[in-house]
Subunit: 281 residues, 2 copies
């Protein structure tokens, strides 16, 4: 792709830092400006080479940006996008890396001032590690990045965002924000809630009897409750639908076990295994 | 511990093979006889050094055994124990490595012929890999082994079984078979069913959108449905109770999300994180 000039990253944690590091390693941007709320995080981002410049002043940080990536918690993205649009050069393109898309797109698509435009993105990449200190230039390599343009979106804007993620190594999938949110409710938000409910179910007296199986199954529950509160709040309908489907499967298991219906139990165990094997290791 | 003489292992898969390898590496047994149904598995067990001798004839395999370890699927243990007691030297001690204990202990404690005695064991060790070819002499190192004696059990028998697992590197916990089954329903059988239901809930069309989170949370669903059918069938009551507790947590999450009750949602997310963090990585 063509060189991006100045890229501003708002929120320099693991995702923002990794985007910065990937851009710099691939020489895709002349300047990468890290914008955050705490000097300490920004210092770390600078030290690992994720950004070339840093500031806690968003207005100043975006004033010469050619592209702005919002990597804050999803609950802050709408507000930050409006703030960026006030201060960035006219017509600046903005994208994000948030785990939900419908509400963001609804509030930002065609609604930004001064010709600024928003196209939603969601890189399906992450790590148990957090913070810019764990930035990884290869975090997006071979991973899916979902981009959610609308009928309003300009083709050139979409192409640039697609090129951007592809340049970072991602495989881009285009879908609507609603389609994204329904899909991720099942593949991401549901696993998080299933892990949380499982961890919450285990009484402390049994912690010492936990094995690797329980630890794998409940791993996601270790995520930041504040982030997950925001994600769930922004995707309530699809998340509730996913929880219902999961509840039905669990009820089917429960009833088959209660009734001694081995045939039905086997059917569900085999379906689970078939699906799991297809997901790969 | 004192040298065990001849140890017979019935069922030489990952667990049986690893026990054999650990016994040989630590020079705890003079002979380790692997007993199985298929020559091909026994050849693998011999080749990796897990056993010194092999046979598909159980009667012959146990005829000079000082200790017999049943490592077959749980559904076969009762039958195998009776068969062993018919052919082993009078008064031979038998233990197992099965994932359930109550039914086994109920059917075997004080009920074996010719002075043979059964004490249940369950090493909390395993791997995604299966088969004797993946045997690991350190599989039990630092792991918990639960031993479930009854008021009938002789102290010397219990001591030998405790010494046996400790010699393999395990930390032994003594509990009743009923206590074991209730605990494992929550820490092991429930995670398996939660993972199975999750994998079964994901439609094939969304497999491509799966990330590491979903893969971790559903990993257990890849286990052998035949084995899990047997485990669940032998622990129906506690498993149903565990599924109910899990269902209640999920319902609490569902209702908090539906009602926009962020305080309640946060409470559950935080409890899940606290418990998960305590389980360790």
């Amino acid at each position: 792709m063509k060189q991006l000039g100045t890229v501003a990253i708002v929120g320099v944690g693991l995702i923002g830092g990794s985007i910065g590091l990937a851009l710099r390693k691939r020489e895709l941007a002349e300047k990468v400006i890290g914008i955050g709320r705490r000097q300490v995080s920004l210092r770390i981002a600078r030290r690992v080479g994720a950004v070339t410049n840093t500031t806690i002043d968003l207005a100043k940080g975006v004033e010469s940006a050619n592209l702005v990536i919002l990597c804050t918690p999803v609950g802050d993205i709408i507000e930050k996008a409006h703030e960026v649009a006030k201060h960035a050069p006219e017509g600046t393109l903005i994208t994000d890396a948030g785990s939900t898309k419908s509400i963001l797109v609804k509030e930002l698509d065609g609604k930004l001032p001064r010709g600024c435009r928003f196209i939603g993105s969601h890189p399906l990449a992450g790590s148990e590690r957090t913070g810019a200190g764990n930035s990884d230039a290869e975090l997006f390599e071979g991973k899916i990045a979902i981009v959610t343009p609308t009928p309003n979106s300009q083709a050139a804007d979409y192409d640039l965002i697609e090129d951007f993620w592809e340049a970072l190594g991602s495989v881009v999938i285009k879908m609507s924000a609603e389609e994204h949110d329904k899909a991720l409710a099942v593949t991401s938000h549901l696993p998080h809630l299933a892990a949380t409910a499982l961890a919450a179910t285990i009484p402390e007296s049994l912690f010492r009897l936990s094995g690797t199986g329980l630890r794998d199954t409940s791993r996601l529950a270790g995520g930041d409750p504040n982030l997950w509160l925001q994600i769930v709040a922004q995707n309530r309908g699809p998340v509730l639908a996913a929880l219902k489907q999961y509840g039905s499967q669990l009820a089917a298991l429960h009833d088959a076990i209660r009734d001694g219906n081995d045939e039905r139990l086997m059917e569900i165990l085999e379906k689970g295994k078939k699906h799991r094997d297809a997901l790969g290791s």
